[in-house]
């Protein structure tokens, strides 16, 4: 089987990553724009893509903008704002069908790139700043999104745990910004911060589909009106911070089920040579239905429906989450701590090792079937400065020994326990 690879290039401040392939019926396009997470800019940066998606200079009305997408055979357009490491990343995503599959009389890749270029660099303006109607409407949208975090109790508890754990780091910030900073934003201030963001951000454009670097480079030159300069790079966050005494926070709300979350510092990040062993550590502990957390909290003790661990490889943080009967808090915490202890004392069976390796290998192989997953995987290299193909990481995972995992376990420190339980306080 031939392996498709990303070809690299750059046009001014935009890094280009193009994977020419005939495997997909669509073109997948992703544009990443990252800046350091910072209290002073996080809210305006989060609001920016919401306003940009309302219209462009040539298609200023939102309905016309959406019709333009529909007319491109229902091109998909979306965006997301999230954090990786200590960066706040805005990602625009477009997918459009390859013209060969429909009776289109124009290049849909060209139409998509033109639209994306306009969204980023030629927004709809009035009097030289963003349209106030759009800014006000999208302020409301972001406000509602932030207020809505509490609606999903599982997510809310996970975010509160991170907030408590990283209270002294930029990582405490929510990628959608701060509620109390929204009110003061004006079309003028947002436009100024957008211009500043365009100057500062690291830009990476990915295209996967039946195209070439030459074609993409030509389309970028035609469609993206960015200032001249060199591509910016990401700063690697400091992940060496140690956990102090374990912070325990219990909060109350009207919930039927208690949401137990734990935050741990692994002090190993994506670029670290110990990262493959960290993947194994997380996999054996709680990444899968065969893992220790699932087997012990759920299958043996019947305490929960879900009990799992998750890794943020760029920040070196691991979180554990489980939904439990409120009265079982002590029991669940004890069982989870026992699993962490058993990782440290090297109680790892041959079977756990081979199962976890097989699952990680499966994931690393199957992501190569999806254009967006390949883009997401490759972007890790941009973020961390560490190039490691899926096959290379797979080889390193296969070579991980029990001793390697115990060494990782010795670094992992429990930092925070957060529990969301029933009833109002008092």
């Amino acid at each position: 089987m031939t392996v498709d690879r990303f070809e690299r290039g750059s046009i001014g401040r935009l890094r280009l990553h193009v994977m020419p392939t005939k495997r997909f019926k669509t073109f997948a396009i992703s544009l990443f724009a990252g800046v350091p997470l910072s209290e002073s800019t996080v809210t305006a940066t989060a609001l920016t893509p919401f306003v940009l998606r309302r219209g462009t200079a040539s298609t200023p009305e939102t309905i016309a903008f959406r019709e333009r997408l529909d007319d491109m055979y229902g091109a998909g357009f979306g965006f997301d704002v999230y954090k990786r490491g200590d960066s706040q990343i805005v990602q625009f995503r477009m997918d459009v069908i390859n013209d060969q599959f429909v009776s289109s009389d124009r290049s849909l890749l060209e139409a998509a790139m033109r639209l994306l270029g306009e969204v980023l660099t030629e927004p709809a303006l009035e009097g030289g700043v963003f349209r106030s109607k759009y800014v006000e409407a999208e302020k409301t949208t972001v406000r509602k999104r932030l207020e809505a975090i509490v609606n999903d109790k599982i997510r809310y508890a996970a975010e509160r745990c991170i907030e408590v754990m990283c209270a002294e780091e930029p990582y405490r910030l929510h990628p959608l910004g701060q509620l109390d900073a929204i009110g003061a934003i004006t079309p003028e201030s947002l436009y100024a911060s957008y211009r500043d963001w365009l100057e500062r951000a690291a830009f990476d454009l990915y295209v996967v589909g039946d195209t070439s670097m030459e074609e993409v480079a030509r389309l970028v030159t035609e469609s993206f009106k960015l200032s001249a300069g060199q591509p910016a790079s990401y700063e690697r966050p400091d992940v060496t911070r140690e956990a102090g005494e374990v912070k325990v926070v219990i909060e109350r709300m009207d919930v039927s089920q208690g949401k137990l979350n734990m935050g741990l510092r692994t002090r190993i990040d994506y670029g670290d040579d110990r990262y493959p062993a960290l993947l194994m550590y997380n996999g054996i502990l709680g990444g899968y239905p065969h893992s220790k957390l699932f087997m012990n909290v759920r299958e043996r003790a019947s305490l929960a429906y879900y009990a799992a661990s998750r890794l943020d490889g760029h920040k070196g943080l691991m979180t554990i989450q489980s939904g439990i009967e409120i009265g079982n808090y002590d029991k669940a915490v004890q069982i989870i701590k026992e699993q962490l202890d058993s990782m440290r004392s090297g109680k790892l069976s041959e079977l756990e090792m081979s199962q976890t390796k097989a699952m990680l290998a499966n994931h690393l192989r199957e992501l190569q079937d999806s254009a967006y997953e390949q883009i997401a995987y490759d972007f890790n290299a941009v973020l961390s400065g560490k190039e490691r193909s899926p096959d290379e990481l797979l080889g390193r995972v296969q070579a991980v020994t029990e001793a390697d995992i115990v060494k990782v376990a010795e670094r992992v420190m429990l930092d925070t326990i957060y529990f969301l339980r029933d009833g109002k306080e008092e």
């Binding site: 019926k25 529909d70 055979y73 229902g74 429909v102 087997m295 439990i324 290998a361």
Partner: protein, 369 residues
């Protein structure tokens, strides 16, 4: 083995019904590493009253199809997730209104994983003890959904629409109903609905169709099943009206969540006609209230809806309904505006341009799969 060519989307399917009744479909995808297989039974949360052959009908506790799905993963040798993990496969299952689906995806040991899938779903292992143990886990699953406002508003709507049809029953059942489930009833449901004649295997990925069919034929020929008898499902007659025009629940959320929908008065369609009606209704909803419609934009501009606003349509031979809605500060104002727009569309028809656009969009989505 029958060959079915779909030239519009450039795909070829292979299909065969085995002597024991199992329907097998393979969709080879050249150049893909992953293989994805589903093994499904026509058995879901609505199948709560049934009879086999000429035996008398029985009624089973709510949530039993989902409970059965959980229990299938346990074998005398242990948890089947562990077997899949050893073979590098990611396995899962889900239960919906009218089906239960077991699945895996893997990039290696495809044939071994396929045999594991066939064998564990065709081998029930229930004991009094393992059935009791599962109740604690499912109770937590039910409690998790009780805290989930999106799920509550969605099921609240369906419950308000249907008087009798079991579609209004929560898929997982209730804490009370699952307590009534025992080993004997699980076996009874299993034997009724997991007969190969009520099931389908679908394999898609970088596979060779001939090899897959050879393997499945061989696996199935070595198992014996009693002759298949007709399954009869019983539903009380469902009135045309909705049970309750409006219902409310109080949960700690930042903004009210409002869903509304239309219960179809005419049901009983099957096959292509059912498919045609479903496609037409989805197109109608997209033209009327999709993100490119003037109605959507005006509701958004007036702060009555947010990006969470959407619509869907569910249809089966004996029920069909739409679900529309999302977060809104003022459910009544939203409903008033929607009613006015529907009246206008009924009087003037849909805009031709927005209909054509919706049609093109939907067909491209199907093509791109």
């Amino acid at each position: 083995m029958e060959r079915l060519v779909y030239s519009d989307v450039r795909e070829t399917l292979y299909r065969e019904v085995l002597p024991n009744g199992l329907e097998v479909i393979v969709l080879p995808k050249e150049g893909f590493r992953k293989t994805y297989a589903t093994f499904s039974t026509r058995y879901g949360s609505i199948d709560n009253r049934f009879a086999v052959g000429d035996r008398p009908p029985i009624e089973v506790p709510d949530g039993i199809a989902h409970f059965l799905e959980h229990k299938m993963f346990e074998e005398p040798t242990g948890d089947i997730f562990a077997t899949f993990a050893s073979q590098g496969a990611s396995a899962n299952a889900f239960t919906s209104f009218d089906r239960t689906v077991y699945l895996f995806s893997a990039t290696e040991q495809i044939e071994k994983n396929l045999v594991t899938l066939l064998d564990f779903v065709q081998h029930p292992y229930f004991t009094d003890e393992n059935v009791e143990k599962e109740k604690g886990i499912i109770e937590q699953e039910i409690n998790m959904y009780r805290d989930n406002a999106d799920w509550r508003v969605y099921f609240g709507l369906i419950d308000a629409m249907y008087h009798n049809h079991p579609i209004h029953i929560d898929i997982a059942g209730t804490v009370e109903s699952i307590r009534q489930i025992d080993k004997a009833t699980l076996y009874r449901c299993y034997e009724t609905f997991y007969h190969p004649g009520n099931m389908m295997l679908f394999v898609v990925g970088g596979v060779d169709a001939e090899r897959i069919f050879g393997l499945v034929r061989d696996n199935q020929s070595r198992k014996s099943f009693p002759p298949q008898e007709e399954i009869r499902r019983f539903f009380d007659a469902e009135p045309e009206s909705v049970k309750k025009p409006k219902t409310k629940a109080v949960l700690p959320v930042s903004l009210p969540k409002c869903m509304f929908g239309f219960k179809e008065k005419r049901t009983g369609f099957t096959g292509r006609e059912l498919q045609r009606r479903e496609a037409a209704t989805k197109l109608m909803l997209e033209s009327l209230i999709g993100p490119s419609s003037p109605l959507y934009q005006s509701l958004y501009d007036d702060n009555l809806i947010s990006d969470s606003f959407g619509h869907e349509y569910n249809s089966a031979p004996d029920y069909a309904f739409s679900v529309i809605g999302g977060d809104t500060p003022d459910p009544d104002a939203l409903l008033d505006r929607f009613r006015v727009a529907v009246d206008r569309a009924l009087a003037d028809g849909l805009q031709k341009t927005s209909f054509e656009r919706a049609k093109r969009k939907k067909s491209a989505v199907i093509c791109a799969c």
